[in-house]
Symmetry: D2
Subunit: 118 residues, 4 copies
């Protein structure tokens, strides 16, 4: 995925509409929350099985795709506004997760590392 | 960004820990919400100016990077589980936004298209 | 529940700490989102059965109680700041829901009223 | 506010529509998240001043009242399903906050108690 290209496209979209005035990181994070709320809305009454790709309805899948795209657009926009290198941060986080959740202590147990011994 | 590579890395991480049993789309969306809540927590008492890259503290920026990475990891994981092509959906959504918010009607006005005439 | 009493107690708490400067409705809503994220975090890997009072662990129930209290505190604080009569609005909403979801059309079907005919 | 009365009214509403099958605590928490997302949506592009009761538009205030009512309804419903005494938990939490945030260390500084010394 060409993140730089998407950043430029969203920036152009925002500039043309004079929307940079609204796009503070704080506001963009609220917008991100609201999109995540819309995604939750689609899945709230489904059980886990019904939420899986084998069982989800075409309509719900289409709705989910749109919300997921919105979430990613805001996430890329926030990263642009805060000068964050998304790819670098994702790999750093994956490496940190691999250390925080060693296989032998985490197997079959998704309890957060800081609650593991409670 | 090599999304396929990240998908494989997360899948390997989850399989090795026997966590696929927890990773239904429904559960992953709740996990995504919880990470977005952590991102909100960092910005909740900052005003818009304080949230910008020129003014945000190093500590808050580091915290934000971690949460943003977590959010993207879950978003990529959800897309993997639902067979969603993230890049395709993002471009589709940007094009749809360009139509829904024509420049002349949207200039300086971030009101949602379906509330524009209220 | 004596909402007025709780409002006064939270207002006193905030004034004594000089926190009214942070308590704009916008900021309080971000704080509310972040608490809801913490509540999601507790339930994200539980299945529906495990989330029920008969099965939830004592530890998770205690954590949930704290988050639910935080959410209600922020909700009451937001209502205070926006002069909203919570009890009146709740009953108005229940009545409106009773009309939007007539028993015969809604039985066993939690689809949102505006998606019912899709 | 008569919480018991509201609990009974929501329970009746849910039973008549055969919706108890959907109302696991897990699902209700997702529904709560989605309502909080709708509340964020109303405030995301407003600045702090515009979010205050002196400046908020009548339309946005009406929308906010509805979302806040929805959030409280789900919160009461979750408490009912988990046998949580909301009033008791709120007062417990206020007392705990009074200890965690002593006036002299917290004055004018809303940094979370566990990040105060960072």
């Amino acid at each position: 995925m060409n993140i730089e290209d998407i950043k430029r496209r969203i920036e152009k979209f925002a500039s043309e509409r004079d929307w940079n005035q609204f796009h503070s990181p704080k506001n963009l994070i609220m917008a991100l929350s609201s999109e995540v709320g819309e995604l939750s809305d689609i899945f709230q009454w489904l059980n886990e099985e019904q939420s899986k790709k084998e069982h989800i309805s075409d309509n719900n899948l289409e709705l989910a795709k749109e919300e997921i795209a919105d979430i990613l657009i805001y996430l890329i926009r926030i990263s642009d506004k805060l000068d964050i290198d998304l790819e670098k941060e994702v790999f750093k986080k994956i490496e940190s997760n691999e250390k925080k959740y060693p296989i032998d202590k985490s197997k079959g147990n998704a309890v957060k590392y800081n609650r593991r011994d409670e």
